[in-house]
Assembly symmetry: C2
Homo-oligomer: 599 residues x 2
């Protein structure tokens, strides 16, 4: 019953009209020849695959879930395996990967847009190749040439999939206390022993081999995070040519019964002297882990963009179709027994909240995709560094702000459907359940907030934040002359200066009491999120106004819709910043004064 | 793995120290002899039943759900039937019901407190007797003496259960367009034909008979809500002595697969010329429906108080037990590998948000319970009217504000557990799924907001709101002399005057454009919610200060905890009002300007 249509026009608006990607990519030698038509046709084809192959499996996957068959065997829901086969054959998994290992070498920003559609269609399924991508990133950055030759080519082709084995039952946020051991063997390999939990895609029947990247401790490792190393631990041990040999000595012990993403196997992995190979330097595993993790955090943000988009589409369709009650200003659909519920202001609030959040989140995450391309491929080192800083600063905002909003959006989408929203067959409640994990995994949203305020902002005395501020001002400069733009520019500028002022205040308080950072971090992250979204709506409005002034060639309705949504954002969502500023300024005392025993 | 301990001390604080119930009840002739000890021992015993009998069935019910066996037969999860037997035998269902029909005649406020514990223990199970209570209320108010004799006694004893059959697939919020027909029979009964959906407890195996109260249209009924009548339609048709006879001609056609409350059967009911009897006057069914509905709305608020309480208890236990990372101000549990996560400011924010919301919601809903007792049983008509007005005004706030907060609280409780929160066995994710329905059923929260602002506030030009304002000022008067109380009284007073000012503004705008009501209603309801919670925390702080000044007889920690939680509320939750005021004032234009086709 639910439907999904890839939002190609909206994606093109961001890619071509807001970000001007083909112009930006022209400055990166390896992407200089990608034009707008190529991008559009890749996304159109990719969208078909998502809508026609992945989306029909979304409710099936939720209903059936994965099954633990005993003795380490896990089967995925009906159709998952076949869809993966199609995905690999069509080369979709290799889209953004390195041509040296068989990848198609497309820019990250295009990969981001494709990921949005995959996640709209089926988040649980998309996590299988998603985890491979994390493993690919770590091996690409830290693997030896031999490791890359064997493992990367198979991860790129999709013949094998990957995982990230970090968490243990007593060690989640705090990886420093993990216990899995790695004992050196005579042949240069290691014997890995320990139990990992919450391993997404840890065991399944979709690929010939599964490559686990496992954090463990060497015998002489220092305590804490400085004593963690990263190991490749393949399910079947390949020879130097990638031909599979013996089954390694570890198994999936069970899978979790969880709130959502039922189609993805969340595994307990028992490593029992399993053979593994060190990736990168001994005791430097956390560096490699952060390469996976940062990419995963951006990926999680994209999961919520995707879920919020599909939920919006279905709640909008319902709101136009469902007749119930009359408009407060008199009947609108006089020929019917009642008006469609989209006439009601509060139904519109629920729809526009989704629309405003999804479209800004799309702009924000594609922008980050392009920044990653620049960070890695721009010939000018200064530009690379500039973009690396912006990506570092905003990664926790993408993860934290977009996933919190994604949960709110899917919750609102359900609410538009009333009682039907609570019923499984309509599909909305699944989106809420799936969206809920995004606020937790790859670092809870509290951790994102601490990373943002403590490390990324105060860690360099606000230098990265100032860079972002300058980028904002530079981008809006072309619009500042237009008096009609003041309704958007004024609140953006006011928020930007408020955030800067508040950052200094918190920085000063934090020097006396580090708990002030923990107390302010969550509202601070949301404030920065609103700063980014104000920016996104400001330039969206600016571009829309310009196009309308130029005549908009038959597309007036589209641009007017952008203008109206921008107005809605500033009228109804931006005001949250008033509360957030008070909350961030309220400090730590009211949080800390109650003694633990008196809770 | 999850646990539940009835929060007796906190309940007593509200009943005896904030509300002074036994003094209040002394003025109601039929409750004049209930003292504090009686109340406490009823709740202690009731709490045992909830914790020992109902709570162990909560996860079972979620896992197994109800089963549709074909041919109209529905079975409930393992243990549900037996628990219901115990419930009936112990007389718990008859607690607040009329002694004329076998009830125990206890005050509503005690019933409310008992309902909180039942809902903490098992919302899905509690809905079975909960629906009976709605049917009881309607029959008690509108049934003939004969109907009462046959049906009420069985509903009170619990031998039979009841339902409310309102919704049809095309008619939910808008009952005026419902189609179920009632054709008069020669013997004075009616033949009911039509299909009802979303009928909670519509069919099950827990009681001997099920009494459906069905909304339907008489042949000559006027269109819309003025042509709806209410009928009793029993599953088995009783004779005048209540002896069961023929099976009536209707069946459960299927049950819904839904996000939560799996243990409660949500039924499609097909009435096929079923025999029914008119309740109340022809075409006046909506009056009777509102009697059920208002009681149900208060009951839904209590469901969320219960869920938020049990979620809080379990997230608190986890936060004290789970060690992970170190406090930002240096190690606290030096003997351990890490500190318990309750040392982190943001974990405390998540716990204190729950605590502040749950405790204020408890105070608010018990207060409403006592007001209902006064409304129905006070000898002075003026007092009855006064309380009726307050209950009418605040019912949508209880339903809307407490259930929205309940969802937020259970979502935060899950978040405290990180990845474990997403796993079913920990129990937290079930609370979120169960809490989600409370924002939808018995009138979505948008409808509550419209009812509040349109009907209850603007409908009498703010008269009921002024009454509430006077009640607030009278109650806080004993505390206003204390300078230490200003930190709580000042924000309460400021919010109260802001709400009054804003009400006039919206009223004036609404005269020109009725959509202004729909546009402001949801933030307005939350503002009024915060006004009530500010009031609750203000008097809680006042009482706590007084007790501490008196020496507090060994209970200092308890009262200090109230003071700290009040401070937290005003520092971190109250600031939401700054955003809400901007949102409510932003009006309808940004909601209405986008044309439907351009969404």
């Amino acid at each position: 019953m639910p439907t999904y249509t890839p939002p190609l026009r909206d994606m093109q608006f961001v890619l071509h009209e807001l970000l001007n990607v083909s112009e930006g990519l022209r400055k990166l030698p390896q992407h200089a020849d990608i034009d707008r038509d190529t991008i559009d046709s890749i996304l159109e084809e990719g969208g078909k695959f998502c809508a026609e192959v992945l989306f029909p499996l979304n409710q099936v996957g939720d209903r059936e879930g994965c099954t633990y068959k005993g003795d380490g065997v896990v089967t995925t829901p009906t159709g998952f395996k076949e869809a993966y086969q199609q995905f690999v054959e069509a080369g979709w998994g290799a889209l953004g990967m390195d041509p040296d290992f068989g990848g198609q070498g497309l820019p990250h920003v295009i990969h981001s847009a494709f990921m949005e559609m995959m996640n709209s269609a089926n988040q649980a399924w998309t996590m299988y190749p998603g985890l491979s991508h994390g493993a690919y990133n770590a091996l690409h950055a830290f693997g030896t040439p031999e490791q890359k030759k064997v493992y990367l080519t198979k991860l790129v082709s999709g013949e094998w999939t990957g995982t990230m084995c970090l968490t243990e039952s007593h060690a989640g946020t705090d990886l420093g206390i993990l216990k899995t051991k790695a004992e050196p063997n005579a042949d240069g390999s290691y014997s890995i022993t320990g139990t990992k939990i919450f391993i997404s895609a840890g065991e399944h029947d979709m690929s010939k081999n599964i490559v686990h990247l496992v954090l463990a401790r060497l015998p002489d490792a220092p305590a804490g995070t400085k004593g963690i190393s990263l190991f490749i631990v393949p399910k079947f041990i390949p020879d130097a040519e990638g031909v599979l040999g013996a089954r390694n000595t570890f198994k999936c012990g069970s899978i979790e019964h969880k709130m959502g993403i039922h189609g993805n196997a969340t595994c307990v992995m028992n490593f029992d002297g399993a053979q593994g190979w060190l990736v990168g330097a001994p005791n430097k595993g956390l560096n490699a882990m952060f390469v996976m993790m940062n990419s995963a955090r951006l990926g999680v943000g994209m999961q919520s963009v995707g879920l919020a988009e599909v939920a919006y589409q279905n709640s909008l369709a319902y709101a136009k179709d469902r007749i119930q009650g009359r408009s407060l200003t008199g009947p609108k659909a006089k020929e019917k027994a009642a008006d469609p519920i989209i006439v009601h202001p509060d139904v519109r609030r629920m729809l526009l909240t989704q629309k405003a959040y999804v479209e800004a989140a799309r702009a924000f995450s594609y922008w980050a995709g392009l920044a990653i391309d620049r960070e890695h491929k721009h010939p000018d080192e200064k530009v690379r560094k500039e973009n690396a800083d912006l990506v570092a600063l905003l990664t926790p905002v993408i993860k934290g702000f977009i996933t919190d909003n994604g949960y709110e959006c899917t919750t609102l989408a359900m609410q538009v459907l009333g009682g039907h929203g609570y019923i499984a067959e309509w599909g909305l409640e699944q989106h809420v359940r799936d969206a809920r994990i995004n606020m937790i995994y790859e670092g809870t949203n509290s951790i994102q907030a601490l990373d943002l305020l403590g490390r990324k902002v105060l860690g360099d005395m606000g230098a990265k934040l100032m860079k972002f501020g300058r980028a904002v001002q530079e981008t809006i400069k072309p619009f500042t002359e237009n008096p009609a733009m003041q309704e958007f520019i004024a609140p953006l500028n006011s928020l930007q200066s408020e955030v800067q002022k508040m950052t200094m205040e918190i920085g000063q308080k934090a020097m006396k009491n580090p708990d002030e950072v923990g107390a302010a971090a969550v509202p601070y992250l949301r404030l920065l999120g609103h700063l980014v979204f104000s920016f996104a709506w400001c330039i969206s409005a600016g571009v829309a106004m310009r196009r309308l002034a130029e005549g908009a060639s038959g597309d007036e309705a589209f641009y007017k819709s952008k203008l109206s949504t921008a107005r809605f954002y500033f009228a109804k969502l931006y005001p949250e910043t008033a509360a957030l500023m008070q909350q961030a300024r309220a400090g730590s005392s009211s949080l800390m004064e109650l003694e633990e025993v008196n809770f």
